[in-house]
Point group: D2
Chain length 302, copies 4
């Protein structure tokens, strides 16, 4: 993630400037504003702006004339109650704006979350940089044999080397040809909106992404999950750390009730009840399919 000296100085200039405001301020996230937190080999996440804090969630829930509840302790209790009972609208009252640099194939997964605002760097208008995601050797995995949409063990030496060699060579060649096609040196130069089609999905793009806290939590629950693809999970993990500093009460409630919790089905609840009564329950008498049973045992940590 090597930012140019000009980019770094623009960031520094913004970080140096502090102005008074009457709005709610979250000190935990103020310290991180504008800083580029590196993700993958060339990517990053930067907080550009935010609205609200833990107290703002309570303030909205109470449609209050002042700030949140009367005491900080009450604020946390109310936030946990709201999260537990699926009250989503108070969490929508906080908003965050991020600048993210990410490979195109990650961007394509990310954009499927529609309840957010996005401005992407335009490859119709501008020329993309020569930056491609090349995985670290310990993240070059085989196709999973149990899960059609997952990965299995890390690839061994020669095969991994071949893969990395291909990714590097094809990226370099695609970019060389991209440049050759748009060049106006001795030729007209292909339109950028056409030339971009030659670039592979591991090229980096970037965007401004703005989302409210409720929808961000939904994104994080799915993308910080163990089943998410590694390359998007590392972005979600980085965002989790930032949110924990921004709205610590809400984040802790999210960890307890969403990230670390589990949805048990009606048959699964029934099995728990039978087990607590001392019955021996196995997959065959559980009323669950093999897949469900496996997930049920995982939820119980068995």
């Amino acid at each position: 993630m090597p930012l140019s000296p000009e980019q770094l100085s623009e960031i520094e200039a913004q970080r140096a400037l502090s102005q008074p405001t009457r709005r709610a301020v979250s000190p935990g996230i103020e310290q991180h504003l504008y800083t580029a937190f590196g993700v993958l080999d060339h990517g990053f996440v930067r907080v550009i702006d935010y609205m609200g804090d833990d107290a703002a969630i309570c303030q909205a829930a109470r449609v209050s004339y002042g700030r949140g509840t009367k005491s900080v302790q009450n604020d946390e209790g109310l936030i946990r109650y709201l999260m537990r009972h699926w009250h989503s609208t108070p969490f929508e009252m906080c908003e965050i704006k991020l600048h993210v640099k990410l490979p195109v194939f990650v961007a394509r997964q990310w954009i499927r979350h529609r309840t957010a605002n996005v401005n992407e760097y335009s490859a119709r208008y501008s020329i993309l940089d020569r930056e491609f995601y090349i995985p670290e050797p310990d993240h070059v995995n085989a196709q999973s044999t149990v899960n059609n949409q997952g990965r299995g063990g890390v690839l061994e030496g020669a095969e991994a080397a071949r893969v990395l060699e291909i990714l590097k060579a094809d990226s370099a060649r695609a970019y060389d040809n991209y440049e050759a096609m748009i060049s106006q040196d001795g030729q007209a130069g292909l339109a950028r909106e056409l030339a971009r089609m030659n670039l592979p999905a591991n090229i980096y793009t970037q965007w401004y992404w703005k989302v409210d806290l409720h929808n961000l939590f939904h994104f994080l629950r799915l993308r910080a999950d163990a089943h998410a693809q590694y390359e998007i999970r590392v972005y979600a993990d980085q965002i989790c750390r930032l949110v924990a500093d921004w709205v610590p009460f809400a984040y802790r409630a999210f960890e307890d009730y969403r990230l670390g919790g589990a949805q048990l089905s009606a048959p699964a609840l029934d099995c728990v009840r039978r087990m607590l009564r001392g019955e021996t329950v196995d997959q065959e008498n559980s009323g669950m399919s093999k897949g469900e049973w496996r997930e049920f045992e995982a939820a119980l940590g068995r």
Copy 2:
């Protein structure tokens, strides 16, 4: 809009508190934060929080590392270009949160704008105040004879007086009975979620409403329009004044390209061309229906 001394002191406490922030600050809107701007007889609009300013629109459009464009003049030019060419996403990068007190029948129109976040004061949980909208005499109008969903001239003396008398008496009686039903004095007391059904649509409710600038402009274009019902238009007009102070470049572009502009249909454009060539065009040879022609003449100020 008589706020209680406790409410006023909560507002004053918030206004008095100023903290440093690294975020974009809009001085024009900072001065208005938390102040209750009166609308109708008991309603108000208060700005609770905001995100972004004119430069933030440019910053997002450019997916920039620093702030907006290099010069303030360029910022305005870019914003006008974006508005003119229907680029909506940069305007979505600004957000505003309002506290609004409004009659229920206005709230029912307002909520039809779905791309916003809302926390409404709960009449299941809380007891509503005795506050009802009673129109000023010069806003008590007859049913329009030309527009089925509009109003005509102001009602004359005796009829207007009867209307106002009915509205006042029915409001008072409905509220008295609401109180009588929920009272726990010598009886169990009806559940609030049931008792509220006795209250008429001119009772005031309140909510926190958060929306991005693009969707706010859409709301304002429809609700600050001459065809909107007066009682929602006065809220839209008040919000227009606040937005003009918050993002002056964007607001001016909105005035020029949306509020003050007009959508001409294909037949209407054709008529303009013919008229500019010196042809005499009237409704009969215009290809437009009578209604369209009337609207066309209005757009041309004839």
Copy 3:
């Protein structure tokens, strides 16, 4: 729910007409099309149109050239897998359009679900009918003493009678005055957009409401829940019966994984694990608040 003879004959005319189509057809819902299923004293739910069936969910999940999976058994297995793993987009590929008649205070809760399309009967344009919701005596409840936003036991004789008397008398008077204000007999007549403000929240309105199956399930999970207000829950219950006939596989999965299931928090999962190991766990050593513990015990049926 007394429909007029003209309305009934319009409905019959639509039900009598059958035409060939190449689209997916769900026989279970075809039989119910247009029929008004009564809810509360004057309300109803009618299915106006639908798109898709169980197989269409599978067809979309597979981005298929033909219909769903090769066998009906596979269809059900795939649908259960998709529901269990929170794949929402295949369920969004089914859509239903309802005509609903409901009291205004129910409509105000309902409309908070924003991801749906709505056309409501306009009281600016038209005159509302004289129809008000008056609860059955066994649904006139006291305010709950344990839950601020709920109801407790049924009100006893004299108090219940007083409540019903008030609701009836105030509704009748409000409507009489509404009619008197808009009357053009010997006076100009108040604009309908103003007169409607005199009507209480138990008057009936009606709308066309269109929603995809994923968002409908979300609505039903919240509104067919025991904690939802009775007057909206009866609508949700009626819709559940219709959905069960429309997409039987998807509905059964919804019952097992959502309606009948429970979300256990991280501390709750930990307690289950400890209990299964034979530990005695009570609220004090559970790490849960009293409220959480009560809900946890309820989920385990203790």
Copy 4:
């Protein structure tokens, strides 16, 4: 767009099957159901399902017990009125579901329209086909010199040939290497979710896309416009032809009031008024920037 014999026979099987339904049926679109209409070299658009017709728009606008207005002529008049006055909700009551095959760089533009439902073919789960978009020679254009995000004239012989050669060779090599990496012949085989990152943006993907008519018109207004990139415009044009057969009244109103119309700004309206009064107006005394003036003259066909 060569479909496999198995795909063609699946499509034929669906087209051959006709069942009775009580729902609204649009004969104009029934005839096209499931047929793959070719777009670009390997892409297509297929209508999978639809809900509603012209009468359904009127039915919803009137919250009707039967079908639309009493006469077909009234239906068209009402639809034109609704379109002209920006009533969006009745158009949301119609819905269409398409199966689209399209290059990834087109899909990335398309997906920015968020108010739609999408199921995309998963390259984590499945192996993509060897199909790449290679433009026809008369659509290989130079970068525009006047519009940073557009294309200029067609490239001349040798340069165009070089471009096509590069696109073909790089596509072929990228796909060969994709296959080599995922192969399980003599090696473990790279996970598909990783291998896909080697594929360029001209590879074809496919999805099910479902959208209501209001949001579809918004999409078509932007993407069937002369300023849209050619490769997405041909999809929009094809969809326009299908919509014209599905809801002919609504489509004609869309052509007149949106596609063929123009939004005039306040200064532009003022200029028209001055010109009609006989004043000579040029850019300098128009109050418009050069860009605005150019667009204004284009709207007037000068």
